[in-house]
């Protein structure tokens, strides 16, 4: 306290205190208003140097006011001002570029590594779904309609002959709507992936259902093309983008399971703390899943239309999955050495 209260004075101590400090509070308010309305570039060097000093001054004023002043208005004002200044002074201000670099170099692969158990479970569920779809449709084609919605099948069902089906593998959707189709697939798949993540909160059950359903659709399609002797060609059509897309969906499912698991079995932590911890690491994975689905959309829209050789399609698809696995699971040192 700079101005020690004089006890001989009438009840003016807190008034004098306020009059002495108010210009500084106003200055801090002014700097904050400019900083919040735009970018840091609006602040002069003097402002930037003054900010921490003014902030600490306001904090000290708040402490003094709480102890000595009964002016509610003053205390409320200082609390709001200090909170605003605190979040500005201690807020994160890393540049977007370095943040993105950190994400790809470290945060994302490490988060994916942390989910390896859930990823295996998710993969297993998808394979189980695919096998179920395949076996059921092969035993009785009637099952096909219950696995694959008619809009999605768009003519690719058991009433079609082998020639039409072969056409769809090499010239699907026509050259016109090609990139629009790719965009639609990307946005749709991303939405499904995010749903997989969010539904994990319901103990992971809806996530598991979505993954199995996705797998069963895949299995049903395989059974259809296999029955027309197009199994190998279908594989090439699928793998060129599917290796990336299905991996992304498996990861989204894994992120959902991670959340569901920690809500059901929080371990040593409280349920809320456990949910918050797994929610954050799962969110990092999801940020990357959207990137993967973008890559898958590009491969599907462009790669698949331009590359029609089966062998090349297999090569690209397998190369992609090798790349992803290498990128995620090669061990990394701790951040910053």
């Amino acid at each position: 306290m700079t101005d020690a209260p004089d006890l001989a004075l009438p009840p003016a101590d807190s008034r004098r205190f306020r009059a002495a400090r108010e210009p500084e509070w106003r200055q801090l308010e002014d700097i904050l208003a400019r900083a919040e309305s735009g970018s840091l570039r609006k602040l002069s060097d003097e402002d930037l140097l003054a900010l921490p000093i003014l902030y600490r001054g306001a904090l000290s004023s708040l402490s003094v006011a709480r102890e000595t002043s009964l002016d509610l208005e003053l205390v409320n004002y200082l609390e709001a001002l200090c909170a605003r200044a605190y979040f500005f002074v201690y807020g994160v201000r890393t540049r977007a570029g370095s943040r993105i670099k950190d994400f790809f170099a470290h945060d994302w692969p490490v988060a994916v590594q942390g989910l390896w158990k859930e990823t295996l479970a998710s993969l297993l569920l998808m394979i189980v779904g695919a096998l179920a779809g395949y076996v059921l449709v092969q035993s009785d084609p009637v099952w096909f309609d219950s696995f694959v919605p008619t809009e999605l099948a768009s003519g690719r069902d058991f009433s079609a002959n082998a020639e039409t089906l072969r056409e769809t593998l090499y010239h699907d959707e026509g050259a016109d709507g090609l990139s629009v189709f790719a965009t639609m697939l990307f946005t749709h798949n991303s939405q499904v992936a995010m749903l997989c993540f969010a539904l994990g909160f319901a103990f992971g059950v809806p996530t598991a259902m979505l993954i199995v359903h996705n797998g069963s659709m895949l299995g049903a399609f395989m059974a259809l093309f296999e029955s027309r002797g197009l199994g190998f060609e279908m594989g090439g059509w699928l793998i060129i983008h599917g290796s990336t897309e299905l991996f992304a969906i498996v990861l989204a499912g894994a992120a959902g399971f991670k959340i569901g698991w920690s809500v059901v079995f929080p371990g040593e932590m409280t349920r809320i703390a456990a949910a918050a911890r797994s929610g954050r690491s799962a969110a990092i994975v999801m940020g990357g899943v959207v990137v993967m689905l973008l890559v898958a959309g590009l491969l599907e829209g462009f790669g698949r239309q331009l590359v029609t050789g089966d062998a090349t399609r297999y090569a690209i698809g397998l190369a992609m999955i090798t790349l992803w696995i290498g990128y995620f699971y090669i061990p990394r040192g701790a951040r910053h050495g």
Partner: protein
């Protein structure tokens, strides 16, 4: 910590949470109320719809000016724009320096990490991806039913229940967390841009014409004093008359007609006496608080 010893009653009740800065001062953050959260969300929703309309018109203009062969490009831009708006409106805004969307800014709210950690991108992503099940899923479900014209009683009821579950979720925890906040470890707090009002003490008052005895000034505590301050700031004639009558009755002063002047004078005198008491370590929280109080032992 000395700071905690003096924390007054107000700070510990209601929706206030402790956040101690590295300088050792507790900021007593106040959590946003449900109404504020809902209001901010409505504003954001309107902003998103407006943005979508403007964006769609821009796409149409683009297609119209480039000719029919550009329909494809227009469609791609629109699809991607819609996707970005839907999923990243909240995320991008909350990752900015204000950590608040447009609606939250208007209502003086911001997102903070629980317990004073830094608000990192993963928290922002987690809390906003959960909107997928809290809002978008029931919405698309409803839209699907309407479009199909098959809004069957049971499916509609299931959708309503699902949405209702998430809407009422904030009422069932103390911190007013929605599922997204719970999962991301975040709070939404009030950080209003407050203007400093005039100090009641600085106004001219006719204090000379009122003289109070120490006993009269010691009737009330801090809580009553600050309630009186609010009454004076709001300045409703009816309330002032009622409060003046109550205080006069309590301290045994005769009515003289100048209610507001009487209250200002009483506030000034009582606050001066209590603030002097504070310097001697006397803090009387309200009129029932007799622990530290010795009648006549003040200044």
């Amino acid at each position: 910590m000395a700071e905690f010893a003096a924390v007054n009653r107000r700070a510990l009740t209601g929706r206030r949470r402790s956040l101690v800065t590295p300088e050792g001062v507790d900021l007593h953050l106040s959590l946003a109320e449900f109404g504020q959260r809902a209001g901010a969300f409505m504003i954001d929703l309107v902003a998103m719809i407006l943005a979508l309309v403007v964006f769609s018109i821009l796409c149409l203009i683009l297609v119209a000016s480039l000719g029919m062969q550009s329909v494809e490009i227009g469609a791609i831009i629109w699809l991607l724009g819609f996707f970005l708006l839907r999923n990243f409106y909240f995320i991008l805004f909350e990752m900015g320096p204000r950590a608040a969307t447009f609606g939250k800014r208007m209502l003086g709210l911001r997102v903070v990490a629980r317990g004073g950690d830094r608000l990192t991108a993963d928290r922002v992503i987690a809390r906003n991806l959960m909107r997928e099940i809290e809002f978008y899923l029931p919405l698309s479900f409803l839209g699907y039913n309407v479009a199909e014209g098959s809004a069957g009683g049971w499916t509609a009821l299931a959708g309503l229940l699902w949405t209702g579950l998430f809407v009422i979720f904030p009422f069932f925890n103390q911190d007013r967390l929605r599922i997204g906040d719970l999962l991301a470890g975040t709070w939404v707090v009030n950080v209003p841009k407050r203007k400093l009002g005039i100090d009641r003490l600085q106004q001219e008052s006719r204090a000379e014409s009122f003289a109070f005895t120490e006993a009269q000034l010691d009737v009330y505590g801090i809580y009553e004093l600050q309630t009186l301050e609010e009454v004076l700031r709001n300045d409703h004639p009816d309330t002032i008359a009622t409060v003046a009558a109550t205080i006069r009755h309590k301290i045994g002063a005769a009515p003289d007609g100048f209610d507001r002047d009487f209250l200002v004078a009483y506030y000034d005198a009582a606050r001066g006496r209590m603030e002097r008491g504070l310097l001697f370590g006397k803090r009387r929280e309200d009129k029932f608080d007799r622990t530290e109080f010795r009648p006549g032992g003040g200044g």
